[in-house]
């Protein structure tokens, strides 16, 4: 695919992700859609390094964010002060006229102010005349918004107009690591993972009985204690492996081979850690129900699992320049998948299902979901005991004002459906 076509595809893809904001109502989903759109635009406008830095962790974590931030900050200034050569315009008649007018104005302004102040001080009727003339209301926030969006547009448009080649030579002085250092570092990390996995496998395959025989440890506590840490540990492995890949001496075949073996082993061990995290998530959900954080943590684990497979297929065989687009495509796929799954509706469905089985229902949490959850609530509410139905309706009534959009500008499809659903739910 040509560079121009790729850029257009990425920009069109980014726009489609902004369109998702007009579909679902969940603020978390909206943030993810916006983030994905920005990521795709970033990929479209970023001029990839053409040397050893290409596809390295330094490029992902340092050069790319700094470059894109710089573009966004300086795009408009570069457009006005750098790209437009004002001297070329100076001999055009409109510019000459403009220059004459501006010169006249500049000459007049100090004297206009001086005499204006004197005359308005001298005569109250005259002062009132000027006051009436300038008595209009203007909200300064308009100027701030215009400047903000113009700045943002400048930052986005300029790199799309002119793709610049950038010279990046950060890696010239970086000391590379060979097979021994790589073996020691990743070997020790693998040993730590093996020790943890040895314990986890007992829980994973030992079933509930093993947890229950451990004193003072309930299933829910067991799950609660480690889920977040395990998800974080899993998420740290990918950048760590990218760092080791970058540090490895590419000319040293033994070092590369060591990295490949150690990384495959580590990813294998990580899959057990992730399985343990997933297991705890299920236990946690059984004990306390589903929450937004748990849904998004699960989605992050799905993305990580797929991205690690992509890492094995691209970075380890030495084709790391292909990694970024695949990883970004996986982010886009997971975010799109989340929009299809509709997390708030899923949370409402799971938690109401638990309530139907006699478990506790957190009414506050259920009714604080976005409009995405309302059709599910409407469908399942009649099956709940009367007192719970009453509590949910009461809470929805109390919070019903949020669903009314102020005008067409913040419209979304989900809220339109939700508004009708809410009216039916609250009908006496």
């Amino acid at each position: 695919m040509s560079l121009q076509r790729l850029t257009l595809t990425l920009v069109a893809g980014a726009w489609l992700f902004t369109l998702l904001i007009a579909w679902r109502d969940s603020p978390a989903l909206n943030c993810l859609a916006t983030g994905t759109a920005l990521l795709l635009v970033g990929l479209a406008i970023y001029p990839w390094a053409q040397n050893a830095l290409r596809g390295s962790i330094v490029e992902y974590c340092l050069l790319m964010p700094l470059y894109l931030l710089g573009l966004m900050m300086a795009g408009l200034l570069a457009l006005v002060l750098g790209d437009i050569r004002w001297r070329e315009l100076s001999h055009l008649r409109p510019m000459q006229s403009l220059r004459l007018v501006l010169t006249g104005l500049l000459l007049a302004v100090p004297f206009l102010i001086l005499f204006g102040v004197l005359f308005t001080s001298a005569d109250a009727v005259y002062l009132q005349l000027w006051r009436n003339l300038f008595q209009f209301e203007f909200d300064g926030r308009h100027l701030v918004l215009i400047a903000l969006f113009a700045w943002l547009a400048g930052g986005l448009l300029r790199p799309l107009l002119w793709r610049e080649e950038i010279e990046m030579r950060v890696d010239q002085e970086v000391p590379r690591v060979g097979a021994i250092e790589m073996g020691i570092a990743l070997g020790l990390i693998n040993l730590l993972f093996i020790s943890f996995v040895a314990v986890q496998i007992r829980y994973l395959f030992g079933g509930a009985s093993l947890v229950q025989v451990t004193p003072n440890l309930t299933y829910a506590e067991y799950a609660r204690q480690g889920f977040g840490q395990l998800v974080l540990a899993s998420l740290f492995v990918l950048p760590m492996l990218l760092l080791f890949d970058w540090l490895t001496d590419r000319q040293n075949r033994v070092a590369r081979r060591t990295l490949q073996v150690m990384a495959v082993l580590l990813i294998g061990l990580l899959s057990v850690v992730m399985a343990s995290a997933w297991h705890r998530l299920l236990l946690y959900q059984q004990a306390y129900g589903l929450t937004e954080l748990r849904v998004y943590a699960a989605a992050a684990m799905v993305w990580l699992g797929l991205t690690l497979i992509w890492f094995l297929l691209t970075v380890l065989p030495g084709r790391r320049e292909r990694f970024s687009f695949g990883a970004a495509a996986l982010i886009a796929a997971v975010v799109l998948g989340l929009h299809l799954v509709n997390p708030d509706a899923l949370i409402a469905r799971v938690n109401l299902q638990r309530a139907l089985q006699g478990r506790r229902l957190d009414v506050d949490y259920l009714t604080a979901r976005s409009a995405d959850a309302l059709p599910v609530i409407e469908a399942m509410l009649p099956r709940l005991p009367a007192d719970q139905q009453q509590a949910v309706r009461e809470q929805l009534r109390r919070r019903s004002s949020w669903i009314h959009t102020r005008d067409w500008r913040d419209w979304n499809w989900s809220r339109t459906i939700g508004k009708q659903t809410l009216q039916r739910l609250l009908r006496p």
């Binding site: 920009v11 069109a12 980014a14 726009w15 902004t18 369109l19 904001i21 007009a22 909206n30 916006t34 759109a37 408009l76 457009l79 006005v80 790209d83 437009i84 050569r85 070329e88 315009l89 001999h91 055009l92 008649r93 926030r141 308009h142 918004l145 215009i146 400047a147 903000l148 969006f149 113009a150 700045w151 943002l152 547009a153 400048g154 986005l156 448009l157 300029r158 107009l161 002119w162 959009t405 102020r406 005008d407 067409w408 500008r409 913040d410 419209w411 979304n412 809220r415």
Partner: protein, 58 residues
């Protein structure tokens, strides 16, 4: 007639980059105004894809 010709020559002498830059500045100003119109005292919804469409079309 002579004036029109000299104006054409003058416009032609303006380099492509400057011309594209001027057009971009015009678009940027319009996008700033559009952003204010779409987002002033409003939440996020249809306005974001509309503004983004403006950027893409520019």
């Amino acid at each position: 007639m002579a004036d029109a010709q000299s104006l054409e020559q003058a416009v032609a002498s303006v380099e492509g980059r400057t011309r594209a830059g001027l057009a971009a500045v015009g678009c940027v100003l319009l996008l700033g105004l559009l952003g204010d119109g779409l987002f002033f005292e409003a939440g996020v919804g249809l306005n974001l894809p509309l503004w983004s469409a403006g950027v893409v079309l520019s």
